[in-house]
């Protein structure tokens, strides 16, 4: 009897709490924005980066009163950076009526999968990191990308080769067997061919392998001047460590963003990562006070400086917030129309979605100067090319 009474009372108590909570939450019903990120799995460290970047931006916007008097809230769904799970995650977000836009995606393959689903379901999708050309080269009307497409990634390196590193003759290309790896390496290989460089090694490898010594032994035998790599983090640091161990010493190691432009790279590769170049998206203009303020604030809150990923994620929330502000109604369709008219200065530079060279709704990172060549110098990644945004002189040839 006592137990039954207790049960009844506790049910009434819970009911009261529930009733009380309804009117309270209705006063400030948030605007929900969905995102698909690797929350668990081998790439979970990247999910953390976007979690931090989105929340710092959302908190800033909410502190200033939110949008149309309502706070924004980012809803995370886990993809483990797997394409099938990414699809399910996107479908889950689309099924929730209150979510009016999707951002993120992280891996190119996942981003492409989400873009296809969003096109069918008529859901606005803002890409902030997946870089493969195909994401904005498929004519999607509901997908927008603020980060540079993968074809742009190697452009600063190409300019560097033509203007500075003119003694480079033999080139080795090592890249992972994914949409991202191919999306970055193929335009660069085309450039090498057109400019009569000798491509001594061109190898794709399966990512997340234990060992790259086989690949590097083969590369060392070919004695290249430049080793170009497109890899994600666990692999990028391991490749440089094993290259050092095998005594592979080209004039220049250059990665293509991704696994080479984040702090984990230098933490894992340590000395082996020194003087390694990375060509790809920047993390904002270092001379811009707004970027400096963001860097400082991020450092205070999370204890590390933001790089490419965090800068992209932070800007993405501001781009979506800007679109929400301009949208006539808070529907998916109105948000899409507002996104299409975006022209905003963010910490990632100017964001304006355009149609050009077969791309649809792509921010022209090349024109807006958002791709740079940077180099790891004593534990810090500094921009070295182009001159307008450089923070230090390049060290060429690198001492590896």
């Amino acid at each position: 009897m006592k137990q039954k009474l207790f049960l009844i009372f506790s049910l009434i108590g819970i009911g009261c709490l529930f009733l009380m909570s309804v009117p309270l939450s209705k006063a400030a019903e948030p605007i929900y924005i969905g995102t698909v990120q690797p929350v668990t799995g081998p790439y979970a460290a990247f999910g953390t980066k976007f979690y931090q970047a989105y929340n710092i931006a959302a908190d800033e916007i909410n502190a200033k009163g939110g949008i149309k008097g309502r706070p924004i809230k980012i809803v995370f769904e886990d993809s483990q950076d797997k394409m099938d799970l990414g699809q399910t995650a996107a479908e889950k977000l689309i099924a929730r009526k209150e979510i009016i836009a999707i951002i993120g995606g992280r891996l190119s393959g996942v981003g492409y999968a989400i873009a296809q689903i969003c096109e069918r379901a008529k859901m606005p999708y803002l890409v902030d990191h997946p870089s493969a050309d195909v994401v904005t080269k498929s004519g999607f009307q509901w997908t927008f990308r603020l980060n540079p497409a993968s074809s742009f990634n190697s452009v600063p390196l190409q300019q560097f080769l033509k203007n500075v590193a003119t003694d480079v003759k033999k080139v080795a290309c090592l890249y992972e067997n994914t949409i991202y790896g191919k999306g970055v390496a193929e335009p660069f290989k085309k450039f090498l061919e057109e400019n009569k460089y000798e491509m001594v090694v061109s190898e794709v490898y399966p990512p997340l392998a234990l060992d790259y010594r086989d690949l590097l032994t083969k590369t060392k035998a070919a004695n290249p001047d430049l080793v170009f790599m497109a890899s994600n983090i666990p692999d990028s640091a391991l490749i440089l460590r094993q290259a050092r161990e095998l005594g592979l010493k080209p004039k220049m190691f250059s990665g293509a963003g991704a696994g080479f432009s984040i702090s984990e790279f230098i933490e894992q590769a340590t000395v082996a990562g020194n003087h390694v170049y990375s060509t790809g998206p920047w993390s904002g203009n270092p001379k811009d006070p707004a970027v400096q303020a963001f860097m400082k604030k991020f450092m205070q809150r999370f204890g590390k400086y933001p790089k490419e990923h965090e800068a992209e994620g932070y800007a993405a929330v501001y781009v979506i917030a800007d679109a929400l502000k301009r949208a006539k109604t808070l529907t998916r369709e109105a948000v899409r129309d507002a996104l299409a008219k975006t022209d905003l200065m963010t910490t990632f530079g100017r964001v304006k979605f355009e149609n050009f060279d077969g791309y649809t709704n792509q921010n022209n990172g090349l024109k807006n100067g958002q791709v740079v060549l940077s180099q790891w110098q004593d534990g810090k990644l500094v921009n070295v090319w182009p001159k307008e945004v450089s923070e230090a002189n390049w060290i060429y040839p690198g001492k590896y």
């Binding site: 799995g41 060992d211 083969k218 640091a237 005594g247």
Partner: protein
């Protein structure tokens, strides 16, 4: 045709990497051989071994040897604990499928718990061991790989001697061959399984310690290992220790030579071609018949 030095370098690397493949497979093969348990948590135990070595080096300092000596008893105990509380009761009730599912479930729980407390960051010990390598006649060999190679060779020999020449070892082998017959001969099969499980887990932990300076630690690293470990176990013959050791080396050398002569894109394919060929001619693996 590549130069002789390059070929030699590839073969040497293949043997060294292969010994690591063997090392991560031995624990798995012992557990399978003795009690027919497909231990899905094996990869994550290697991961825990790596974290043990990582924290040891970061917090206390020193080389490889102290964490190795700590890992052996600690992981033996963890193995016994897992066996007593989870594997043994489930094996009695649910058989092979039951133990497969419980270890797979435990694997998910452990990886997610580790991510919760130590975050998803990639960590590695200060690279002092990594950057050192010995050069000899145009060959360069990583000191950490060499250390792992010799330690795993010693472990394989020690475990083999234990199983061959001691009373407990003989009882474990008897259990592996026929549980009922062993029971009739007065062997305490429950205890033998406990010891075998403990040894298998202890080997996983040691493998983790040895892998720490070579690889990097993150909560999901076990997945990378377990895929290779299963290939090696079946290649060498399920339950055979020598098979696992030699199967690992065969896989390692094949991958290195395949990359050198053809392409790294087919790295996993070379391993699996060897796998298919071996199973085609010896369906029970390289050393399938001489179990334990």
């Amino acid at each position: 045709m590549p130069k002789f030095e390059i070929l030699l370098q590839a073969i040497v690397n293949g043997i060294l990497i292969g010994s690591i493949y063997g090392l991560i497979a031995i624990g798995l093969t012992i557990i399978f051989g003795v009690m027919r348990v497909i231990n899905m948590i094996h990869g994550d135990l290697i991961m825990l071994g790596m974290y043990l070595a990582y924290w040891f080096v970061v917090l206390i300092g020193g080389g490889e040897l102290p964490p190795l000596l700590v890992a052996l008893p600690v992981f033996f105990f963890i193995g016994c604990l897992i066996f007593r509380t989870l594997v043994s009761p489930v094996a009695k009730a649910g058989g092979e499928m039951g133990t497969l599912l419980i270890t797979a479930g435990l694997s998910l729980a452990v990886t997610n718990f580790v991510q919760l407390i130590w975050k998803a960051d990639y960590r590695s010990t200060p690279a002092q061991l990594v950057s050192t390598s010995y050069s000899f006649a145009g060959l360069s060999v990583s000191s950490a790989l060499l250390f792992a190679f010799f330690t795993s060779a010693i472990l394989v020999i020690a475990v083999s001697i234990f199983l061959m020449f001691t009373e407990t070892g003989r009882a474990i082998r008897a259990t592996a061959q026929d549980q009922e017959a062993a029971m009739f001969m007065g062997v305490n099969i429950e205890k033998m399984m406990l010891i075998a499980f403990g040894i298998g887990v202890a080997l996983a932990g040691t493998a983790g310690v040895l892998l720490t300076p070579i690889f990097y630690v993150y909560p999901y690293v076990g997945f990378v290992y377990i895929v290779k470990a299963f290939v090696v176990v079946v290649l060498g013959g399920m339950g055979s220790i020598v098979g696992a050791a030699l199967g690992g080396i065969l896989l390692g050398v094949t991958e290195q030579l395949g990359t050198l002569f053809i392409s790294a894109g087919y790295k996993d394919a070379f391993g699996l071609i060897i796998f298919v060929l071996v199973l085609l001619f010896r369906p029970s693996g390289l050393f399938g018949r001489s179990r334990l």
